[in-house]
Amino acid sequence: MSFSSNSVIAKARAIYGRSLKADDYARLCAKGSVAEAAAFLRQTDRYADVLSDINPQTIHRGRLEALIRRSTFDIFERFHKFDHSDSRVFFKYIIMELEAEQILTALESVAGGSADRYVAELPTFLLEHAETDLLALAKAENYMEFAHLIEDTPYHKILRPLLVDAQQTGRINIVECERRLYTFYYLSALRTADRTYKGSDRQTLRRSLLKSIDMENVVSCCRMKMFGTAPEKIKVSLLPFRYRLREDTIDRLIQLNDTEKIQAELEKYGYRISGNPELQSVEQLAETISMEHLRRTLRLSRNSAAVYYSLIECLKIEQRNVKTAIEGIRYGLSSSDILSMLVI
């Protein structure tokens, strides 16, 4: 193992060590207002830097969430400057995932006829790193203009047929767009893992990526079922990678309605969670399962790429937790109710 790998592992663990703990979440959820939550977050090691300039009393919730998102990105941007191996490779994928998310929002804006919300929520830190001119996408008034704007990016090839179709029918298949963008993202990541790493390093990283895909598929499956999508359509709308969850498992998951039953089914395939937490949703279940695996990898793995990938995913979950907590506080939920929705 190279010195650089060791330093990536050490730095990733140090960053994870500064992330919010169960006690911090409990204290955050006990706050009575967004201002108090902002003041609390400003005192934590994790968010002290990014929130140093804000006035907790006047900060807008959206601005607070944007800064929290930015702080996670900053970590990887700094990592990217510090390390020239694994983080360089994966920084591209962090950008790619955020870019895919923004392209989907921009497409929804075209469908909705106004890009105001898209522009307002567009993370500006992404603009200088993304392959697509994300701000220009706001100016697209129809799907062909959109296709033209992404012409020089890899997304053109995968989205063009859908955009042409949407131009003719007037309706964009967002679910398929999402599936294609994330398939492209995971496929690129898996190919990079195969090209860059060998032996057990490659296996460990592939395992981490495929486990994430399995959990994404579980969530998509349940979400689509909730919206009344037909089982056949659900199956073709999932990401086309299978790790532990084979076709027959997917069939069974489509039939299950209850989070507890889904949990029991997933346990058969080794997706277990320790303890017996009361889970509110399938999303929470999937993230809790992922979190256990990610934490284990972060703590024990000697594979720097897998550790780095786990850090990315852990911080994403933390970001969602903070967002949920802030929303919960804003809507006046009790601290126990908010805590029960978090992945800790």
């Binding site: 300039d53 919300r117 706001a138």
Partner: protein
């Protein structure tokens, strides 16, 4: 020296005298109250504390007035009942609240104006009056700050009638004004809001341009500052005038409040109270006499004998002035149980000796001692008195090693004396301590062996005293362990140091194999002696495996514990090595070297670093030896500390 003898004290009396009795016990600082046990008593006094409300009010008041609570004599205070205390609080608080309210109002207004002024400062380049700006007929204008990162997003809104004019960039934000047609004002507000624009709201009277408004605001701020200072002075005067009386009232209230809390531990029957607790025997008579003065209150003392005492009896260590600071290390590990043995003197002697040996230097030792002496006058940190003592031992051994601040030419080292180096087996005089390294390491091992043997002897004697025959005779740290260890050490020392072959078959069977066999069968043999059965039944296979592993571990621990003491010798060499580096840096390691200012400075800095780093390391290493190699063999540290009831604001 050792553990203070304790007595159990039972206090009885009429219910009306309960508070007086409790107050006396608190004031004596020599009585630890036994907590009330539900199963033991018919009734106890667990009512709501009526002093709680005035107590909390006074606590808050003390915080508002910046008064640090401290106990004061309160004989002159006639207030008694909770209602009277509440009245006192209300009267004083009423006056204080009025002043405080005025002060807070002005402070708040001042903060608000300062905030507005700091916002206004970013807009000084705006030469239009605010009145004109905010009262345009067709255009809506709003001043404030926008996160700079969102500036690039404004291009998108350019064709939608929204214009932002930046004035100044300050860190993450850009200050400016946005303009939009009045008809599209709602849209502009929504957009700017979504871009996290923070609007600055100006008071109506600031209707001139930015520079003029700034001047007006500065005048207002200056006036408010003066008023705030005046009110602060009034508050301080109020505090000064009421402080002594306040503290006396608060002290009395604190006593009454705490005593009431202690009532929960008293048992009540037929309008009479009883409470029990522990008191050092020597102070019992004095406390009993005081309690008797209350009238109708009786106190019964039952001295607690070591063997008969229960495990709940608290422990108060009693040592002379030299050893007392080392109680800190014993407490750190755990106090001894009542009726057992206090290892403080043993720790003190071994710690001071080992520190002296490992860090022997006359100059540095005296410096540490002096620093400890000065600091113990200033600070209550328990390490400083220890530094005073160990520094003296360091100086004493420094004389032996001939080292004064690392200079070895002032005093003759012991190994330079011919009779000594010849006795140590050298044919010529060793020039420095590194040449006697082997002797030092052997000496370190000898110290370790002696300390281990003493610790095992302690364990054996203590177990004999507790009548734990099995432990005393057959345990690894009992007679068998002692015989095995001494025989092994004697055999090895005889073979390598004196050329005497002790390991004859009879010697091996009697002093090495037999003790090991007895240790192996410790449990059945102990049962045989005590006539009791040992715990659960285990199979023969398990018995052999368990005891073999225990025996193996014990044998290994003898070896590792003994080797662990090599660090004593190691640190002597390390100390000498570090001082050699200092000498080299100072350039005094060659004969006839010139002493310059630089040499002196290097020596001072070098000595400070060595004292700081190595002194700390040696201190920690000795503590490690005490806890792991010595305490492990005879000491459990399961005692409970003596915590007398007392009233304090700390």
């Amino acid at each position: 020296m050792g553990i203070e003898k304790m007595s159990q004290l039972t206090v009885e009396g009429p219910l009306g005298k309960l508070d007086n009795a409790l107050l006396l016990c608190c004031e004596s600082r020599m009585f630890q109250m036994t907590e009330f046990s539900n199963a033991a008593a018919p009734q106890n006094l667990s009512q709501e504390n009526p002093y709680e409300m005035p107590y909390n009010e006074m606590k808050n008041m003390a915080a508002s007035l910046n008064i640090t609570p401290q106990l004061k004599a309160y004989d002159s205070i006639s207030i008694e009942s909770p209602e009277e205390f509440e009245k006192y609080c209300n009267d004083t608080v009423g006056e204080l609240a009025k002043l405080k309210e005025e002060y807070d109002e002005i402070a708040e207004a001042l903060d608000e104006h300062r905030r507005t002024d700091s916002n206004l400062k970013h807009l000084l380049s705006l030469d239009v009056s605010f009145h004109e700006l905010f009262n345009m007929r067709y255009v809506k204008a709003q001043i404030g700050k926008l996160p700079s990162v969102n500036m690039q997003k404004l291009d998108y809104y350019e064709n939608k009638g929204l214009h932002f004019i930046p004035f100044e960039q300050d860190g993450e934000y850009t200050w400016g004004v946005y303009l939009a047609p009045k008809n599209d004002a709602a849209f502009a507000d929504t957009v700017m809001n979504s871009l996290f624009f923070e609007a600055t709201v100006l008071p109506d009277y600031l209707n001139a341009d930015a520079a003029e408004s700034d001047a007006v605001l500065e005048k207002i701020i200056s006036d408010e500052e003066q008023l705030k200072t005046l009110l602060k002075q009034k508050l301080d005067d109020f505090t000064a005038n009421h402080k002594e009386e306040f503290l006396a009232v608060f002290s009395k209230l604190k006593h009454l409040y705490e005593c009431f809390e202690l009532r929960k531990n008293a048992l009540i029957s037929n309008d009479r109270f009883t409470f029990t607790g522990y008191c050092p025997t020597k102070s019992c008579t004095k406390l009993t006499e005081k309690l008797l003065t209350i009238g109708d209150v009786t106190a019964t003392e039952v001295p607690l004998k070591g063997k008969a005492a229960t495990a709940d009896v608290p422990v108060k260590l009693k040592n002379n002035v030299i050893f007392r600071p080392f109680e800190m290390f014993v407490k750190m590990y755990g106090l001894p149980e009542y009726g057992t043995f206090d290892p403080t003197p043993y720790v003190a002697v071994t710690y001071m000796l080992m520190f002296g040996i490992m860090f022997g230097d006359v100059g540095q030792g005296l410096a540490i001692s002096l620093l400890g002496l000065i600091m113990s006058r200033i600070s209550k940190n328990g390490l400083f008195p220890i530094m005073t003592r160990i520094g003296l031992f360091s100086a004493a051994f420094g004389v032996l090693y001939g080292s004064v601040f690392g200079i070895e030419t002032i005093i003759e080292p012991f190994f330079h004396r011919e009779n000594i180096w010849r006795a140590l087996g050298y044919t010529e005089q060793p020039h420095n301590i590194f040449q006697v390294a082997t002797v030092l390491l052997i000496a370190a091992l000898c110290i370790g062996i002696v300390l281990i043997v003493i610790s095992m002897t302690f364990n054996t004697v203590l177990n004999f005293r507790r009548r734990k025959w099995g432990e005393a005779l057959f345990s690894v740290n009992g007679v068998c362990g002692l015989v095995f260890y001494i025989a092994l050490v004697a055999g090895v020392a005889g073979m390598f140091l004196f050329g005497i072959e002790l390991f004859s078959p009879l010697y091996i069977i009697a002093f090495i194999a037999l003790p090991l066999v007895l240790i192996f069968f410790k449990h059945p043999l102990s049962d045989l002696i005590s006539g009791t059965k040992h715990g659960e039944k285990i199979s023969i296979g398990n018995f052999i495996i368990e005891n073999f592993i225990d025996l193996f571990e014990a044998a290994l621990s003898f070896l590792s514990n003994t080797m662990s003491f090599l660090r004593i010798g190691g640190f002597i060499l390390s100390h000498a090595g570090m001082m050699l580096v200092v000498a080299q840096l100072a350039g005094t390691n060659v004969p006839g070297a010139e002493i310059t200012v630089g040499t002196v400075i290097t020596y001072i800095i070098g000595n400070l670093i060595v004292m700081g780093v190595e002194g700390l390391l040696v201190g920690i290493q000795i503590l490690r030896l005490e806890f792991y190699e010595i305490f492990n063999r005879f000491y459990s540290g399961n005692g409970k500390s003596f915590r007398p009831v007392e009233i304090t604001f700390e």
